[in-house]
């Protein structure tokens, strides 16, 4: 057993883990962070994508002990003070998810992509999420959501648009651009 000290979604943890334990299993089984999911064994699908010190990694390809001393953000740590991250909001507003299984990883990867390139074109978005598979959407609305989020997060966008909406299960307005 090895001790791992890690900050996950703003909370400090210290645990004994098997050295071989994957970070995604540590998150899911030890910390109950089941918002992050496992979709494959080979780091192809990206469903398990999280941020390690602010950069996206596939948590099925990282050992828990490698996260020792680092900061982890999962899909569960994105909304702050009950307000959705603009990328989360854009995914909902653009119907960028159906079954939702790939969604946590896709959102985490999209945030990383926008941090690298705040103003991507469609092709840049497609390339930026190439390592995350979705079987439901054909990606069209995911691409649209990421482009929408980029606009929302751009320096010119009003600051209150950044985090304006509360996390409410009831909130269900009408899509701005449902049709193509």
């Amino acid at each position: 057993m090895t001790v791992v000290r890690v900050n996950v979604d703003g909370v400090n943890y210290e645990d004994d883990v098997e050295p071989r334990m994957l970070l995604v299993h540590y998150l899911r089984e030890r910390l109950g962070k089941t918002g992050t999911v496992v979709g494959c064994d080979t780091s192809n699908c990206g469903s398990c994508t999280i941020h390690l010190d602010g950069h996206s990694v596939k948590s099925c390809s990282v050992l828990a002990v490698q996260a020792d001393g680092h900061e982890v953000t999962t899909i569960e740590g994105l909304a702050r003070d009950g307000r959705l991250h603009p990328v989360q909001r854009a995914f909902r507003d653009n119907h960028a998810l159906q079954c939702g299984f790939c969604t946590p990883g896709m959102i985490m990867q999209s945030i990383d992509l926008l941090a690298d390139n705040p103003d991507p074109d469609e092709q840049a978005v497609r390339e930026g999420i190439e390592g995350n598979l979705c079987r439901c959407t054909g990606y069209q609305n995911i691409v649209r959501a990421v482009l929408d989020a980029a606009r929302q997060m751009s320096p010119g966008a009003a600051p209150d648009r950044e985090r304006q909406e509360t996390v409410s299960p009831q909130a269900s307005p009408v899509a701005g651009g449902g049709g193509q």
Partner: protein, 819 residues
């Protein structure tokens, strides 16, 4: 109260489901953790066909944390045989299929032993300590070889590898003429063979099962599309009393037909939990999923079409061979039958014969995958229409126009005996042609050909229809399916005026919670937000037939409408009593009963409270507005549309780039256009994936070569284009909402559009067919050979890395067109 309420139906409502899914508040089966829960791991056969001589589990049993190890012999007395609910003929050969192999394995990946341990890691570790001695048996992989005299048998006790022969002949059915006569006397006959490669549904959430035996009922959580069917089938397979079983499909991460199955893993998890009196969880790895969850398609299609010189089709003959794999799935033998009535498609064909031979091989079983039988049919007929057009020297669209059912001819009874209730193929096609710039692209195609451009342009057409909304029970009965096709719904009016809609459908990404809320909000005149849709738990939704076959809205949605109408009729009696008038004097609109010609009225919520209080109800009226309805459709629904694909083919590399894709679909009235577009997008992606990328392949020993997502090419965002969508609306006349199914249409339509486009781009180079997936290697080889059908490529994993990612193409500016 007179404010007009904007109808919910037709609105692009954002989904209720999403608030949880975008924040990680989810209930996937693998998320579940129960006190004392144990973990099961499965040892799978590495060989495709062998006798199990011996299994030594003693070392595994001794491993730390290992609670139990079971083999097929251990469970033989209680594990039953996996069910097949669709015996398509009276003499169909149905093999025994124990969840855990007892003495023989028949495909690589078949379960041979299970370990139950304190942790998933400990269970997986102990698998390597199990020693199995296999004695190899001859492997049968190719369908034609399997049918040949003297072939090794997958199931020697059945005496043949032929599962069944099923025939539809329009002359026998009285729905059309004799196809042999039509072919014999035809002016033009075209014969082709197509191969529907084996596909893997590859839902993103691996399958997972948890069984808790600690209550009075066994509770089974499963990542399934069909909790109700799983309950019945577990009861029948294992002999567990049905009322002692509760099955829950919590959040389910996609299915696409791949989770329309009753699986050995469900039985094994149950048996372990029952033996050990502890909750047990099993979650498959991706490799296990690709290897052992059922596959789809895998047909060889031989078609002959007869026509006049003027291009009128006079007959169509279809002969299929369908690879069942080593065992029969829940509905596997019937999958080709779902296509049998669709080869005639939108065309008026006077004579038709369909015959399919189902074949056993030493491979993973096949069963439903998005479209199930209909994509195969649509591919074959739409490819044939292009081939016939070439033979006749006619524009392929012109040939289709000459033969399709015109909008004045509906309802139209086809040569396959189905009655299409509505449709307007002209309108959808005209709109698609306009959006696509058909004439402009044909012009560019000619120019590129004339100047011998390295990048050639092709146009692919798919004017499709499909039958969905499974299904009228009497039709299923006539096809020997074991169950009906009805659907159930209940509506509960809560004292505070909120509404619970219980549906027997079982959504796994389709957005039923949102769509059903829209429908019921309109019907009852209550706010969208006040409707809660409950599903996926046999204790909550006690009756249902679940979600597949684009049935949920056209069957389950209609059941909900009928239940709502019953609520209104119950409420009307109480409202009349409250308002001191006759029922006949009441109008109901926008959630209010009003006394005609007065201002006097009451809301349905007030009536619900009055029913709850029950202080002053009319005599003989029960204190409840709650209502149930079971709806059995009279007919299928028949979505249709026209899909047009422009493909650029690099003739030096074989690389295909989809330049534009236009889909104009007619799915009748639309509840939520945002959701409908999303369904089409996803459907297109899967159909295009069959055309360009995906294929499950095996080596000569029957080992799956595409056992990871690195080898089985589920397309990524760079592999797909943006789609241009539009709709025409020809309401179905078979249901009160005028709706048709939409879940499978995109997949059914798109594969032939893409392949037709590729062939169209290179036909002048002597290419008449390219086997799917149309990888760069295959396309290049076909062009190089300059002739079809020569030396088919040996299939390989990864399908030759068929990406349309422009960075992989020869990016030297020769590829015209916009991104």
């Amino acid at each position: 109260m007179t404010a007009t309420i904007e109808p919910e139906v037709g609105k692009a409502r954002l989904r209720k489901e999403d608030a949880r899914l975008i924040t990680g508040r989810t209930r996937w089966t693998d998320n579940l953790s129960l006190p004392g829960m144990l973990h099961m791991a499965i040892l799978r056969s590495p060989v495709a066909h062998a006798k199990i001589v011996s299994i030594d589990v003693s070392e595994a049993r001794g491993r730390a944390g290992v609670v139990a190890v079971y083999t097929g012999a251990d469970l033989a007395g209680e594990q039953g045989s996996m069910p097949c609910a669709w015996p398509i003929t009276e003499d169909m050969k149905a093999p025994q299929h124990p969840p855990l192999a007892v003495d023989t394995v028949r495909f690589a990946g078949e379960a041979v032993a299970v370990v139950v341990a304190r942790s998933a890691y400990a269970a997986a570790d102990a698998l390597e300590a199990i020693e199995v001695d296999y004695q190899d048996l001859p492997v049968v992989l190719d369908m034609e070889a399997a049918l040949a005299d003297g072939a090794a048998l997958v199931h020697p006790d059945l005496g043949t590898n032929r599962n069944a022969l099923w025939v539809f002949d329009s002359a026998d059915a009285g729905t059309g003429g004799n196809v042999e006569d039509a072919i014999g006397s035809a002016e033009v006959v075209v014969t082709r063979r197509f191969r529907q490669q084996r596909l893997i549904p590859a839902f993103m959430e691996p399958r997972s099962v948890v069984v808790d035996p600690t209550g009075e009922q066994f509770v089974v959580w499963s990542s399934t599309q069909i909790p109700h069917i799983v309950r019945v089938m577990m009861a029948m397979t294992l002999g567990v009393p049905e009322h002692k079983l509760r099955v829950i499909a919590p959040d389910v991460g996609g299915g696409f037909g791949g989770k329309l199955q009753v699986i050995p893993e469900e039985m094994l998890t149950f048996l372990c939990a029952r033996r050990l009196n502890k909750p047990v969880k099993y979650t498959e790895s991706r490799s296990e999923s690709l290897l052992s969850a059922h596959h789809g398609r895998d047909q060889i299609q031989d078609l002959t079409i007869a026509a006049t010189r003027e291009g009128k089709i006079t007959g169509l003959r279809v002969d299929l061979m369908v690879d069942m794999g080593a065992y029969l799935g829940l509905v596997g033998p019937g999958v080709p039958l779902l296509g049998a009535f669709m080869y005639n498609a939108i065309y008026k064909i006077p004579a038709y014969r369909f015959a399919c031979t189902n074949v056993f091989t030493n491979k993973t079983r096949t069963d439903t995958y998005r479209g199930a039988g209909r994509p195969e049919a649509t591919f074959a007929i739409e490819r044939m229409m292009d081939e016939l057009a070439v033979e006749l020297g006619m524009d392929p669209m012109e040939l289709r126009r000459k033969n399709w059912i015109t909008h004045e001819e509906f309802p139209y009874t086809t040569v396959a005996g189905l009655t299409y209730d509505s449709g307007n193929y002209e309108a959808a096609t005209d709109r698609a042609v306009e959006l696509f710039d058909y004439d402009g692209l044909r012009r560019e195609q000619r120019e590129r050909r004339d100047r011998g451009d390295i990048v050639q342009l092709g146009i692919g057409i798919s004017t499709y229809t499909e039958m969905c909304g499974l299904a009228p029970s009497r039709v299923l009965g006539a096809l020997s399916y074991a169950a009906g096709g009805w659907e159930h719904a209940s509506i509960r009016m809560l004292p505070t005026g909120k509404v619970e809609v219980v549906t027997g459908t079982s959504p796994h990404g389709q957005g039923h919670e949102t769509a059903w809320s829209q429908i019921i909000a309109d019907r009852l005149g209550v706010p969208f937000e006040d409707v809660e849709v409950l599903h996926g738990d046999t204790q909550v939704s006690h009756k249902g037939m679940d979600t597949y076959g684009s049935r949920s809205l056209t069957v389950g949605g209609i059941a909900a409408v009928h239940a709502a109408d019953k609520v209104i009729e119950k409420a009307r009696k109480i409202a009349a009593h409250m308002l001191e008038c006759d029922e006949g004097e009441l109008d109901f609109a926008a959630g209010r009963f009003t006394v005609r010609g007065t201002q006097s009225g009451t809301s349905i919520q007030e009536v619900a409270l009055a029913a709850f209080a029950a202080h002053n109800l009319p005599d003989g009226v029960e204190a409840s507005l709650d209502s149930d309805a079971t709806f059995d459709p009279e007919n299928f629904s028949f979505p249709h549309g026209t899909h047009l694909c422009a493909a650029e083919v690099d003739t030096e590399t074989g690389h295909v780039r989809l330049r534009s894709y236009v889909a104009v679909d007619d799915v009748g009235n639309v509840i939520n256009p945002m959701i409908v577009d999303g369904q089409v997008h996803g459907g297109l992606a899967q159909g295009i994936a069959q055309a360009l990328y995906e294929g499950a392949t095996h080596d000569e020993n029957g080992t799956l070569l595409t056992g990871t997502l690195a080898d089985y090419l589920v397309p990524s965002a760079v592999d797909l284009p943006s789609f241009t969508l539009d709709r025409t609306v020809t309401p179905s006349t078979s249901n009160p909402l005028g709706v048709k199914g939409v879940g499978e249409a995109g997949t059914i339509a798109s594969t032939p559009a893409v392949v037709n486009a590729i062939i169209d781009a290179v036909r002048h180079l002597g290419v008449a067919d390219i086997e799917m997936p149309c990888t760069p290697h295959r396309v290049w080889s076909a062009i190089s050979r300059g002739a079809p059908g020569n030396a088919p490529d040996a299939p390989g994993p990864g399908g030759g890395l068929g990406s349309i990612d422009s960075s992989l193409s020869r990016g030297n500016g020769r590829q015209g067109g916009a991104q």
